[in-house]
Symmetry: C2
Subunit: 210 residues, 2 copies
Amino acid sequence: MASGTRGPRGPYRTGIKTREQIVLAAAKAFGEKGYRAASLRQIATDVGLSPAALLRHFERKEDLLAAVLNWWEDETAHRENPDLQGLRAIDQLRTSMAYHLEHRGLLELFITLTSEAAANPEHPARDFVRRRYAQVVRTKTDQLLQAVQTGEIPPLTEADAESDIRALLAVMDGLELQWLLDPNMDLVGTFNRYLDHALACWRAGTRPMP
Amino acid sequence: MASGTRGPRGPYRTGIKTREQIVLAAAKAFGEKGYRAASLRQIATDVGLSPAALLRHFERKEDLLAAVLNWWEDETAHRENPDLQGLRAIDQLRTSMAYHLEHRGLLELFITLTSEAAANPEHPARDFVRRRYAQVVRTKTDQLLQAVQTGEIPPLTEADAESDIRALLAVMDGLELQWLLDPNMDLVGTFNRYLDHALACWRAGTRPMP
């Protein structure tokens, strides 16, 4: 095996590791305090660096935000099995929910940056959040329409399918928010009950109601 | 009519008006930038005051937050008709949604402070947000159970009623978040479709699904 395949080593490798530590500390700080309120100085302290040393890795706060958003995308992408189709593909939202439960920091980052971007049109994460949200709506709507095409469920217009998916994703976000506020709340049970109901309605063709 | 009933006048009245202007500017700043990131200096500038003059009205940032939360409570309380019962009382969520649509600043404040309080257990608005959320869940669950008691809908356990209400409130929050991110999204149509469906399911007794 060529040594290159073992990845970088020496000072370069140390640099990558430090960079990763900075990104993780920044993700935590942005999630807990918000992007603007989080301080580069505190993030540097959290990983045992001087502010000047941190700036050698990330010149501006926005560069660090970009790295955090990349990390977020990597953490959440590829969690779904692309071989599943139709309702079984949609059912994988249970897996995402379980993952969030075990990675509260990621969930806090998601909730904080999404609401900051929602409330402030000038927020530097707004394009990312909008693009990512549109992508999830598109993917899940396509999976639902796929279930129609294969005859798994009765017909549903594209507009109604998108409306149902938007409500489903809203339930997920809203329940996660409730759970962060009140950890005693039965997040998994409430979400599963809702998803079971949605799946049953799609199968029975009782959506939309008259 | 005694002059007292016309309310305060002169310098005292000016003081109340200035105070109100500060609270409104703070609500806007907290909503757009977040509580920590918003600056007292900028809020003072927004209402044409010096920072020192603002501090004569609100000694600490937390005092200003408390005033903003009071304002929020006043804005959202008493919007519901207390004479309505059962499903008709729940149906009033449409009115709340329409009100949020027309008062984007209030919605931004709600989304921002709720997520900040969710992501940060030390947030000074956390107790308020938790208490307020628990209160809404309680009120709406009671209204749904009232519909059971009066025979308006078939039986539903208290746990299932709370679960349905939590999902309904989650849909509201989540769809409002989607709309802030993408104002082209059909917020009212999507929410009404969901609420129509929920009401029909409660009436038909098809919740919870097997």
